[in-house]
């Protein structure tokens, strides 16, 4: 297992490198001179010349990449054009907010999803199953940003129970003032993972229950509760893998929900970076989010391998 973890870790390096390369190239994808995109609009000719050498825009592309990578590895993601602050600073702050939101959404989605999945799997083809399957498909097919809007309509506009936007007063604290801003976005975000996890668990549990080893267990007179434990143990690796994947998507795809709720997370930051054409900030945010995702997948893979002894190496 250790060997697998090590191998997996080694494999991450080229992927991370490739991801960084794509992020780097993104800026050069943008129409126009990339240097103009990086400079504040009122830069002097001297500043322009300095920046050109500093960023190496007068050098060959691979060299530029090398310089950029070097800076990134030292934590320097550039300076935001809009705010003038270091990108890394902005991004870390925002990512913290996103992580909080994503974790809560993941927990809600996972718990309810697993519950529904188990119910549906145990009562295959009965009404419980049909209800759960319908909810799951609905959840997966729904544009979650629209759901957010609908929830805002119901709970903010019509009922006035929860706030529609923002994260509350400056500085986070775990009191109702702040937490109430967390509820609607988290619930909205949890819907898609909930649907996917419910579907996966349902299929898995249904499969497992129909397998012969369960029949054998029951024939041995083992209590239903212990059968359940067996099923749960077998379903766990896949469940964790799916949840890990969903968590990754939550982190990476948070932009839409955060836009709806004006939640000051990395997605929201990305949004403003796009509209302010703040390319260093854009690049830095994408890089951080993408690398988070890669790292998360690594953790999930290793975790899955730990729990499931049958995992074969590729």
């Amino acid at each position: 297992m250790f060997a697998y973890a090590l191998m997996r870790l080694i494999y991450v390096v080229p992927v991370a490198l490739g991801v960084s390369l794509v992020c780097f190239l993104l800026v050069h994808l943008a129409p126009g001179d990339p240097l103009i995109a990086v400079l504040p609009p009122d830069a002097s000719a001297q500043l322009e010349a300095e920046m050109r050498t500093l960023y190496g825009f007068d050098r060959a592309l691979p060299v530029q990449f090398g310089l950029w990578l070097w800076r990134v590895l030292h934590g320097d993601l550039g300076t935001s054009i809009a705010t003038g602050r270091a990108v890394s600073e902005e991004v870390w702050r925002a990512v913290g907010n996103t992580v909080m939101l994503a974790m809560l959404a993941a927990v809600i989605g996972f718990v309810i999803g697993v519950l529904c999945g188990f119910l549906a799997g145990y009562f295959r083809d009965r009404w419980v199953d049909r209800v759960v399957t319908t909810i799951a498909i609905t959840g997966v097919s729904m544009p979650h940003y629209w759901l957010g809007m609908v929830l805002v309509i119901v709970f903010s506009v019509l009922l006035g129970w929860l706030p529609a936007v923002g994260a509350g007063p400056a500085g986070w604290a775990w009191n109702w003032e702040h937490v109430k801003h967390l509820i609607l976005p988290a619930v909205t975000m949890s819907v898609i993972p909930m649907g996917i996890i419910a579907r996966t668990i349902r299929a898995l549990v249904g499969d497992l229950l129909s397998q012969e080893f369960v029949l054998a267990l029951r024939a041995k007179g083992i209590s239903e509760a212990r059968v359940f434990l067996h099923v749960a143990k077998n379903a766990a690796p896949t469940a964790i893998a799916v949840m890990g994947l969903q968590l990754g998507y939550l982190l990476g795809g948070s932009i839409l929900i955060e836009t709806v709720f004006s939640w000051p997370g990395a997605g929201f930051l990305l949004n403003s970076a796009i509209f302010q054409r703040d390319l260093p900030l854009l690049q830095g945010t994408i890089l951080v989010l993408a690398l988070f995702f890669v790292f998360l997948n690594l953790v999930v893979d290793v975790l899955q391998a730990t729990i499931d002894p049958r995992i074969k190496r590729r």
Binding site: A3, Y4, L6, M7, R313
Partner: protein
């Protein structure tokens, strides 16, 4: 035979004395992946194998699973590239005088799994006419040829040409496999466990068909199987393989009467019989089949051989004639100079 023959079989270049197929020193090994994507070792699937196949004969190839028979067949037909060794077809060297494409017109193969060897999305006539089409036969001519071949293997084209593989039985599919193999008018046909998956009655029909076609079309066969009875029925000569090497070869009847290699004797003794007077008391072969990644030193069979001695684990026996022409065995007992205590003596029993 056929009225118009645009796909005539390749001409007989070497004459009746020339063996149809000569294989010399053929070797192929496959790397085995270890944990961290490093090579843990190699499987010597085929190890320095040499033999000949004469025109119009049936050469049977027997051995357990994993002995390399199928790999060897694929090497002969050019589906896998050998690491070492030469193949000479009717006096012409493959890769030299004969291109791979030329080889296709001379050697064809009938596969074992009759279902997986037919494309489920193509009709029977499309499957059979694919080969001729590749060799530039016009579509309607290829179709006509496919229909002819179906008749030749005992299937009515009107009923079978437009069908799909899943609609047919195992026996019918194997006939179609044979028809497809014949579509390019080969002179040598490799039958890789071609009847192993069939019911016994169907098997008999297909074997008879094969013998008829052989006479009709002047074919030569290499018949690979693990079923000794079938091999005995079909073959003129038989070759026994073990862990990638040839351990014995002889005419079929000679092999059955007077096998000179302990492995062959064990295989023959292991054949169950319905005769209550011929019960098998002890297992003919002891021990587990060795790991193909790490074959035993010296004679590869020595770990399971009841006659093994010290010399067997140090020196590798060479395939050598046993005095009887064309009967060769790779065993120290057959070699008077080997140092084995029973060297030079025949097996009694």
């Amino acid at each position: 035979m056929f009225a118009v023959e645009p796909l005539a079989p390749a001409a007989d270049v070497g004459g009746p004395g020339q063996p149809l197929l000569q294989v010399r020193g053929l070797s192929k090994q496959f790397p085995v992946r270890g944990g961290l994507r490093t090579r843990a070792g190699v499987v010597r699937a085929v190890d320095d194998v040499s033999f000949t196949v004469n025109k119009r004969e049936v050469l049977g190839v027997v051995g357990e699973s994993g002995c390399g028979k199928s790999t060897m067949a694929r090497l002969v037909i050019g589906l896998i590239a050998p690491d070492k060794g030469d193949i000479v077809f009717d006096g012409e060297a493959v890769g030299d005088v004969l291109s791979l494409r030329d080889l296709r017109r001379r050697v064809q193969m009938v596969f074992q799994d009759s279902y997986a060897s037919l494309n489920p999305r193509l009709t029977i006539e499309d499957t059979i006419s694919f080969g001729p089409r590749v060799h530039d036969l016009a579509p309607n001519q290829a179709r006509a040829r496919a229909h002819d071949l179906l008749r030749k293997v005992g299937l009515d084209p009107a009923l079978f040409a437009a069908r799909y593989p899943h609609e047919l039985s195992g026996g019918q599919r194997q006939r179609i496999n044979i028809a497809r193999a014949l579509a390019l008018s080969p002179r040598l046909v490799l039958l890789d466990e071609a009847v192993s998956a069939l019911d016994k009655s169907v098997e008999a029909q297909v074997l008879n068909l094969l013998l008829e076609l052989k006479e009709d079309l002047g074919l030569t066969y290499m018949f690979i199987s693990h079923d000794l009875n079938v091999v005995r029925f079909m073959s003129d000569r038989v070759m026994v393989m073990y862990l990638g090497e040839i351990v014995e070869e002889a005419a079929a009847e000679v092999l059955w009467a007077d096998a000179r290699h302990p492995y062959t004797r064990a295989l023959l003794a292991a054949m169950p019989s319905l005769d209550p007077d011929r019960r098998t008391e002890t297992a003919p072969v002891a021990g587990d089949p060795p790991n193909p990644i790490d074959p035993p030193a010296g004679c590869r069979f020595h770990t399971r051989c009841p006659f093994a001695e010290a010399v067997c684990s140090t020196t590798k026996p060479v395939l050598m004639p046993t005095g009887n022409d064309r009967h060769a065995a790779a065993c120290h007992i057959g070699d008077p100079a080997s140092g084995h205590s029973s060297a030079g003596r025949r097996f009694t029993e």
